[in-house]
Symmetry: C2
DNA sequence: AAATCTATATAGACATGTCAAATAATCATG
DNA sequence: CATGATTATTTGACATGTCTATATAGATTT
């Protein structure tokens, strides 16, 4: 069927896609400025452990989207660095629970501090009215984070997607 | 000198640090959900090239905070994948300019689309009043992005910091 | 124009991240 | 309780990301 030129205005530019673009740009910028001392995988792992508590190796693997032996060796490394520890899983003797150590928790907290310090610095550069609008949006931002967590904890990872451009 | 208990309320909890925390959490969540198909370094490189146009190898190295030969081999790889191309620098025959190819631009755009789609989905899950507050904060968000860009383009990278927790 | 500086590339090394296949321990089920 | 499924580890392979030291070509300075 042919595509006729539509009379209606574009059905809605995705409703909130401009905000989404601004937020994504912010994510990209912050990531590009943050220290590059750990890999994405390590950062995500530590975040998950802090947010959701001790996790099984297999669960981490699906959550991270990598193969399970990869997590075993990742945990080996992190354990060796003292950031995480393996504990027995009381409900299943085959499994282990990977948990943050105190040092690991400190590491995550320190890293977050670096990020928030940067953002505070940026926000402090805003004119008063914009800063106010941002504060007014705080509940919304927190809600978005909460939704993102739910989304992340679901099995669903974003497909590697992108694809086409690679060839 | 001894620290007396202060009568004043804490001088201001960093003014905007709660917003900063929410934004940082969002960054962390989004990064954790985004496809893991490229490294931080590649992502940052492509973003810089898209945002700021063709760049010298040396400039990329300082911008990324890695050694120059690392960028040479990174560019080798990206060039091999067809995402960037080396061009002669008209102002200096020693130098090269690394530029995005059409495919590279497409790749960045597609990847951004994945991110904004995710964020649109999240924002669509907000109650109407929160969504409104977020839209009202759009200029502020855009301004923060602009400030972040200025910040990123300055030579200053955040120190690897964090440090202490590692031992 | 010689000496020095600068931009990139090359070489060689090493840690990290990743996978698939095979193994060992334990669980769950018929 | 024996068989099949699940959990983690081990093994062995390979790509990536990173560095330092060195080489090469072109700029810049004196």
């Amino acid at each position: 069927m042919l595509n006729e030129v539509s009379d209606q205005p574009p059905p809605e530019p995705a409703e909130g896609s401009d905000v989404a673009l601004a937020l994504y740009s912010l994510v990209a910028m912050v990531v590009g400025i943050m220290p590059r001392d750990i890999s994405l995988t390590v950062a995500t792992t530590l975040n998950v452990l802090e947010r959701a508590g001790p996790q099984r190796i297999t669960h981490l693997a699906t959550r991270l989207g990598v193969a399970q032996p990869s997590v075993t060796s990742l945990v080996d490394k992190l354990e060796h660095e003292g950031l995480v520890a393996r504990r027995a899983d009381p409900t299943d003797a085959r499994g282990v629970l990977v948990a943050l150590t105190a040092a690991g928790r400190r590491y995550v907290r320190d890293r977050r501090q670096v990020g928030t310090d940067l953002l505070v610095e940026l926000i402090d550069g805003l004119p008063a009215d914009q800063a106010r609008s941002l504060r007014a949006a705080l509940p919304a931002l927190e809600a978005v984070v909460a939704l993102a967590q739910r989304r992340a904890d679901g099995t669903d990872r974003l497909a590697t997607a992108v694809g086409e451009a690679q060839r």
